[in-house]
Symmetry: D2
Amino acid sequence: MSIVLGDNQYGKAETRVVRIDRDAEAHRVTDLNVSVALSGDMTDTHLTGANDKVLPTDTQKNTVYVFARDGVGEIEEFGLRLARHFVDSQPTVGRARVRIEQYPWTRLELEGAPAHHSFARSGEGTRTAVVTYDGRQAWVVSGITDLVVLNSTGSEFWGFLKDRYTTLQETRDRILATAVNATWRHEGAEDTDWGKSYATARRALLDAFAETYSLSLQQTLYAMGERVLRTCPEIVEVRLSLPNKHHFLVDLAPFGLDNPNEVFHAADRPYGLIEGSVLRDDAPPAGMAW
Amino acid sequence: MSIVLGDNQYGKAETRVVRIDRDAEAHRVTDLNVSVALSGDMTDTHLTGANDKVLPTDTQKNTVYVFARDGVGEIEEFGLRLARHFVDSQPTVGRARVRIEQYPWTRLELEGAPAHHSFARSGEGTRTAVVTYDGRQAWVVSGITDLVVLNSTGSEFWGFLKDRYTTLQETRDRILATAVNATWRHEGAEDTDWGKSYATARRALLDAFAETYSLSLQQTLYAMGERVLRTCPEIVEVRLSLPNKHHFLVDLAPFGLDNPNEVFHAADRPYGLIEGSVLRDDAPPAGMAW
Amino acid sequence: MSIVLGDNQYGKAETRVVRIDRDAEAHRVTDLNVSVALSGDMTDTHLTGANDKVLPTDTQKNTVYVFARDGVGEIEEFGLRLARHFVDSQPTVGRARVRIEQYPWTRLELEGAPAHHSFARSGEGTRTAVVTYDGRQAWVVSGITDLVVLNSTGSEFWGFLKDRYTTLQETRDRILATAVNATWRHEGAEDTDWGKSYATARRALLDAFAETYSLSLQQTLYAMGERVLRTCPEIVEVRLSLPNKHHFLVDLAPFGLDNPNEVFHAADRPYGLIEGSVLRDDAPPAGMAW
Amino acid sequence: MSIVLGDNQYGKAETRVVRIDRDAEAHRVTDLNVSVALSGDMTDTHLTGANDKVLPTDTQKNTVYVFARDGVGEIEEFGLRLARHFVDSQPTVGRARVRIEQYPWTRLELEGAPAHHSFARSGEGTRTAVVTYDGRQAWVVSGITDLVVLNSTGSEFWGFLKDRYTTLQETRDRILATAVNATWRHEGAEDTDWGKSYATARRALLDAFAETYSLSLQQTLYAMGERVLRTCPEIVEVRLSLPNKHHFLVDLAPFGLDNPNEVFHAADRPYGLIEGSVLRDDAPPAGMAW
C-alpha cells in the first residue's frame, strides 16, 4: 500500500471586482465576485513544495483585474476569456474553472429620469456563471441565486405517505416560499446571447412559480425547470435547489380566535430542501459542466 | 459598599410574523421581525428569582401574533398598539420598547399585470420602527436600513489633514458607496401618516444621495439628513450611520496599463464609518426616542 | 426654524491587525479588530465639504498598524495609547473612542509540549475593550462576547405573571443556555492590571453561571454581575446582555414515548433577551464609558 | 425532443437536536444539526403533484427526534440508523443521505473539578458525518470543519511560475493560516470505532499542520492527508479544502519603520483556496461516499 495524490485544484477565490463603464453619459456598473480554480500537473508542489508549475493565486487575481480593464461584457464571456487564458498560456494548467457572481444594481431616478451615475443594489437575485475549460472544450453553466419568492395561496400538500412518525396535517391552502437557486447548461455554448438567455430564463422561472397551482414544491420545481427549457431552446438542462421556507399558521385557538390563513410564523430551521434536475431527453452528457 | 441592580429590560426578540391580507382579490404580504423589551419593577426576579412580576417572553410572542390577527397596518401603529398594551395592562411594566423590521416584497407580474398572490423579496431597504411608551408618552423612531447605494462619479476627497501617518492620495473622482442606515423621530407622533412619511423620507434620502456633488461622505450625510427634514415637516431629527464602502482603484501600471477610473477592488474591511445627527434647531429633546 | 448638525463622529472601523511577537522562541499571536471613532470640530466637512480638520480614516488605519509595531500589550493599553494619540496630536479632535476585539488563539501541542509557532483559534469568547478619551479623562470598558454556555439542569421557571395571552407551561427543570455578552467599567482605570482583571472577571462570570441554581435568567444575570464585582474590586459596574437560547423539550407523546428531559429542539428565533446592569452603590456616574 | 426529470432528492435540512444524557451524575451534551435527503421513485410528485410516495420532510424531522430518544452515540452510527430506517421502511425510498454536524461542548470547571451540568461551546472544530445508504451498501464520510489554525513561521513561498501578470514577491517567512475543512472515508465502515477514529484523524491533521515546514499550502495539505492515512488504517481517502487566509505584512517604510515579520493585515477576501484528495493506491472507488 502506498499513498498518492488524487484530484486537486487551487486558485484565488472571491476576487471582488467592480467595473464602471464610463464611455456613455450614463455609466454602467458591473459588480462581480470571481473565483478561479486551476488544475493540472501539480504533483511537485504537493510532494516536495517545488512551485515551478504553480501560477500564484495572486497572479490569478491580477489577471482578473487586467482582463476587466478591457471590459467585462456578459459574465459567461468574461469567464470564458479567463478560463481560456489560464489553460492556453500555461502548459502546466490542464483545466480552469471560473465561477462568477454578479450583483444587480438598478439605476436611481433623478428628477423623474434614470440617473446617470447613481445606483441602488437591488434584490432581484444574483446572476451566476461557472465556466470550465480543458484546452479542447468549454462548459458553461449559468444561473441565479438568492431570488426569494412567495405565493400567498395556490399551494396544497396532502395525500402524502404516512408512517408511525407522521403527525403533519394535510393542507389545502398554504404559503409556498422559497429562495430560488437555479443553474442551467447550454448546448453549443459559444455563440449564445448570454444576456438575453439569462433574462428569458429568469422570467421563465418567475412565471412558472407564479402560475403553477402547486400540490408539492417538487411539482413547482419541475414546472420551473420545464418552463426554462420550453422558452430557451439553447438550454438543455436545469438544476434547481429550492428550500421550502416554512410559514406555519399560528394556532390562535387558545385565545378564542380563528386564523383564516392570515397570521404565520416564518421559521428559520429546519427547512425542507427540494433538489432536482429537469432536462431534454436528447441532452448531451453534462461532462464537466457542474 | 453594596451591590445594586441598575437599568434592566427583558423581552422576546425577533419574532418573525408574516401576515397575509386576503380581503381583496390581490393579497398583501406584511413580513415583520418584532422585538419587545419591557422594563419596570423587576428587582425580585433578579435578586430572588420570584417571577410574579414577570410577563414571560413567550407571552409577549403570543401577543404579537394575536395583535397581528386584527391587522398590522403601518409598523409604527403596530408598535404603538403593542407597547401601550404591555404598559397599560401590566402594573409592573413601566416602559415598553418595540422594535420592528419590515422586509419589502414586490408583486410579481403575471401575464403583463401585477400578480394577485405572487411576490418577490426586493432589495429596496428594510423599513424599521422603534416605539417606546412609558405610560404617559410615546416616542416613535422610524427608519430604513440595508439600502445600498453607489455613485460612480461626483465624489472627491482632498484637502484633508495630514500627519506623519498619512499616505492617502487626494482624489478628484472616486466611487462613493454606502449602506444607508437612517433613523428619524417625529413631532406629535400619534397623528402621522406613517406610510406617506416613510415613502417621502426614503425618497429624500435617495434624492440627496444622487444629487449631492460630494467632497466628503460627511457632506453627503448632512445633505441627506437635511433633505429629509426639508421634505418631511413632521420629522425633527435624522440620525445616519453610513459605512464608507471603499472601492479602491486597481493599480494596473505594473502591467503597462492605465486605469481611468474603470476597474476597482471592492474591499470588505476595514471601512470608514460616518455617523451623525441632523436636526431642527427647535427640536424637542430626544428623550427616550433612541 | 433652521437645520443644524448634531452629534457626530467618524473613523475607520474593523482594521484587522495581527501581531506576532517573535522575541522569544515561543511566538505569541495577538489578533485584533480595531475600530476608531473621532469627534470634534467637524462642522465644515458636513456643511461645505472642507476637509482641513478631517484626519482621514485611512490615516487612522495606518496609525493602528504603526502603533502595533511597538507592541500591543493588553488591548486596554493599546486603546488608551491610540485614543490619546488622536486627541493629543490633533487640535480638531476633541474625543476619540477606540473599540478593540481580541480573538483568542491557543497553542497547539507538538510532541507532547506546547508548540512554539502553531496555534488554533479557540472558542473561549472574544475579549473586548472600548476606550474613550476627551483630552482630560479616559474611560475604559472591558468585556467579553461570544461566550456560549449551557446548564443542562438546575434551572426552573414558574410563578410568572399570566395574562390572557399566556400559554407557557411552568417548568421545574429546563436547559439554560446563553451567549454571554458582558462589559464592565473600572475605577481609576489607568493603573489596572488589565490581563489579570480580564481573567478574573471571565472566571467569575463562568463560575456564577455554573453555580447559580436559577429560577430565572435574570437571577443568573444578577449573580454573574455580582460575582464579578465581588471578585474584582477595580470594577464598579457590569452590564450583561444574555439571549435566552431556547431549548424546547420535544413532545414525543404522539409516538408513544416519554421524554424525560433528554431530547430538545434548539431554536434560532425568536429568543428571549435579558439585559441588565449590576453596580456598586458608590459607583461614579458612567460618563462616557459606554 | 421531450423533457424529462433527472436526478432529484428531497428532505428536511438542519434539524437542530440537542440530547442530554442524564444517566450519570455528570450529564453529557450532544448537539447536532441533522439534514436528511431521500431519493427514489419520486416522478409522480414532480409531474402531477401526487404525493402518495412522498414521506413528508416533517416526518423526517420527527424521526430524527424519535431516534435521538434512544440515544445518539457517535454521529456516524446515528446517521446509519436513520439512513437505514428511511430506505428499509419505505419502498419508494431508494437512497437516503444523512448529513450531521456536531458542535463541541467542553465541561466547565466548578471548584477545581469538571462540572457535572455546565458546559461551554468550544472552538475546536465541528465534527461532521455524511452517511449514504442505498438498501445494499452504506458509505460513511467523516470529517471536521471550522478548525482555524495558524503557523507564525515555518512557511515559505518562492520559485513559482511567473507570467506577465505576476507581481507577487517571493517570501522565505510568512504566516500560514487556514480553516481546515476535511472529510475522509473508511473501508469496511460498519465496525469502526468512530469516536477513536475521529480523535486520531483530528490529532493527525493538527500534528501535520504544526510539524510540516511548508513551501506551499499544497505541501501542507498533502502532509495532512498523508498523516491521517498513516495513523488511521481504516481510512482510505482524505479530501481537504484549505482556504489560504492571507496575512499581509504591512509596509511601514513610509513611516520610517521596518517590519520584521511582526505586523500583519488579516484580509477577508480574496483568499486562496487549495483543494485536494490524498488516498491509498488500493482504495476502492469512492462510489456514493461524497
